[in-house]
């Protein structure tokens, strides 16, 4: 790291999804690791181009769904078999077919809650403020501009050198992101 304390990183602005994808791949080949791209819509392969591993979401959702389903069935069993057994039309206390709908619903409910909460947790949201918001023109990241930010904490980061590197990617604009 070779940058003043108050610099968060360097932000390069592009105007198409293809340009940002190519820029991300180039930056990775050039040896940069601590970087992120900001885009107005999800671009397939961009996270991989930046060197991100696969998302943990499927695993989280699977585990939560399994826990919700098992927990739901266990609750029904405890309520209607152990805690307060009721004879309903002579059916067995543990009448599993009748317990399936609630088990199913609780599987889906806990998996869905895990999906949204897990997504927020993995993304460390809510985080209402972030240094990139300081960059001029960054509000276009939610409309039609695509940004690549190489962060100052990257070991290869060097204010002048990284700026020169970003210029080779032919961005529309390069700006410093202040903390």
């Amino acid at each position: 790291m070779n940058a003043p304390e108050k610099i968060y990183g360097l932000l390069a602005e592009f105007s198409s999804d293809k340009a940002i994808l190519a820029a991300a791949e180039n930056a990775r080949h050039a040896g940069y690791r601590h970087m992120d791209a900001y885009t107005p819509f999800p671009i397939d392969g961009l996270a991989e181009a930046l060197g991100r591993r696969k998302s943990l979401m499927p695993l989280i959702v699977l585990l939560a769904g399994a826990a919700g389903g098992l927990g739901g069935y266990l609750m029904e069993w405890y309520a209607n078999v152990r805690s307060y057994p009721l004879n309903i039309a002579g059916r067995p206390f543990n009448s599993w077919p009748a317990f399936i709908p609630v088990t199913f619903e609780l599987t889906i409910l806990s998996a869905a809650l895990a999906a949204i909460l897990g997504m927020l947790a993995l993304n460390r949201l809510p985080e209402l403020h972030h240094p990139v918001f300081n960059a001029r023109g960054f509000e276009r990241a939610s409309t039609d501009k695509f940004f690549l930010c190489i962060e100052a904490r990257d070991p290869k980061f060097d204010l002048a050198g990284t700026r020169r590197f970003l210029a080779t990617l032919a961005p529309e604009k390069i700006s410093e992101v202040v903390r």
Binding site: A37, P40, Y84, A115, G118
Partner: protein, 445 residues
């Protein structure tokens, strides 16, 4: 109808579409028709509050219900609203998994419609409880009375199915909305709006790492919501089919209820979207091809519903059960026979017009057909609930049901609740999914 017609007009750019949609919320003045509609909706909402207040004060005796017809309008309205709430998640989840791109410009809107319809639906069983303030007894929790819900009862399944459906629809809707709230935050003209949208956007900044988790979560939610859509109305139908009442006790109910739900859901989407695309000039995003596709879905599900009607009649005859046979004859020719024939007209005959390309392309005609289906689906639930109950096994237990003013007031009042929420949604949130539309624009170039 030209099959090559695009789902989005070819001159749309990222900036133009973003501006078009966000301007409705941020800068445009509401058109006069918004004020007119919102005023009517709000007046109906007041009627709803009035009817509910009187109900809480006097009890369910103000309705026309009696013994044997203990389930009156409350259950008819419940099933009707829940059915309407099916199109949103069907469009969002199942069409997403099937890679149907035409869902993109209508999914946000229909998801909101789903939420509001399920909110209306959820009111009715609670109001029908007689003592709504103890509704929480339906929820399993270790209470001081040492009691638990009876989990073999479809009515308890219903509580879980409807509340799960509401929660999952809300989560799905919000997950899709987050990036668009960030767009509104970034484009907001005043500080107040910036702060408000900023809070709800949770600091979304479109990071590639965020999108990766977001897309994964969104797809998983779609996968979870898809079986859920099919399960909700199946569970609602169990409320009927698990009972032994002739006209209810039938194995065809779950699939036939689900088809009917999607049928009425699409009809409601068309009834709302046809005026809206005209008023807000969204014809470039919600194209004639969207309307045509929705009409086709209605035609297909309408045929399934018609098959359900035929099978009900056939099984009544084929079963050899005199009570079932009497039920069918009474349904068609008994005191409520005219309602049955109205149902056949509204739900089976009129929708056959959709075979014609001209009707599917004609907005007024399509609106009217969809309206007939909405009425028809309400009538269908009336036929199922009331005509089945009013003459069951013993003639000494027969009765008649006549809705009172308060029955109608709660029905129209709930329409007011639905429309008020919808008008507020149109005014306060982007009604078309911005980030997904951007992706569609880039991909179709």
């Amino acid at each position: 109808m030209n099959p090559e017609a695009k789902f989005i007009s070819p001159d749309a750019t990222l900036e133009s579409v973003t501006e078009q949609i966000s301007a409705i919320v941020l800068t445009q003045k509401s058109p006069r028709s918004w004020w007119l509609g919102a005023t009517i909706a709000f007046a109906l909402l007041m009627l709803f509050f009035f009817a509910v207040a009187w109900l809480l004060y006097r009890g369910v005796g103000i309705w026309g219900i009696n013994i044997p017809i203990a389930w009156g309008f409350a259950i008819v309205n419940f099933v009707w609203w829940i059915g309407i709430g099916h199109a949103g998640t069907f469009i969002s989840a199942i069409l997403l998994l099937l890679h149907q791109q035409w869902r993109t410009s209508i999914n946000r809107f229909t998801e909101a419609m789903t939420l509001f319809a399920v909110a209306c639906a959820g009111m009715f069983p609670l109001l029908h409880l007689g003592r709504p303030f103890v509704f929480y007894w339906l929820v399993p929790y270790p209470d001081t009375m040492g009691l638990w819900p009876q989990f073999r009862s479809p009515l308890v399944w219903d509580v879980f199915a409807v509340s799960t459906y509401f929660m999952v629809s809300l989560i799905f809707w919000y997950a899709g909305l987050m990036p668009d709230l960030a767009t509104l935050r970034d484009r907001a003209s005043t500080r107040r709006k910036k702060i408000l949208f900023g809070i709800f956007a949770l600091g979304w900044r479109g990071s590639a790492a965020h999108w990766q988790n977001h897309q994964s979560a969104y797809l998983l939610l779609a996968g979870l919501a898809a079986p859920l859509v099919l399960s909700v109305h199946s569970v609602v139908s169990f409320d009927f089919s698990v009972a032994i009442v002739p006209g209810w006790h039938s194995t065809i109910f779950p699939p036939y209820f689900v088809a009917g739900a999607i049928y009425s859901g699409f009809a409601m989407v068309l009834n709302i979207i046809i005026p809206i695309r005209k008023i807000y000039r969204l014809e470039n995003l919600i194209t004639a091809r969207h309307l045509n596709n929705m009409a086709n879905v209605m035609l297909a599900t309408g045929m399934m519903v018609a098959y359900g009607y035929i099978m009900e009649a056939f099984m009544a005859w084929y079963s050899g059960d005199i009570f079932e046979q009497f039920m069918m004859a009474n349904r068609a020719f008994g005191p409520y026979g005219w309602i049955f024939w109205a149902l056949m007209l509204l739900n089976v005959l009129i929708p056959q017009l959709l075979w014609s390309k001209k009707i599917r392309a004609h907005r007024v005609a399509l609106f009217l057909v969809a309206f007939a289906i909405n009425l028809g689906m309400w009538v269908e639930r009336f036929v199922i609930v009331i005509t089945s109950l009013h003459r069951d096994f013993t003639p000494s237990a027969w009765g008649m049901y006549v809705p009172t003013f308060w029955d109608w007031a709660t029905l129209f009042g709930s329409v007011g609740l639905f429309l008020t929420l919808l008008f507020l949604f149109i005014r306060c949130l982007p009604m078309i999914a911005l980030s997904e539309t951007r992706k569609l624009i880039v991909e179709s170039k």
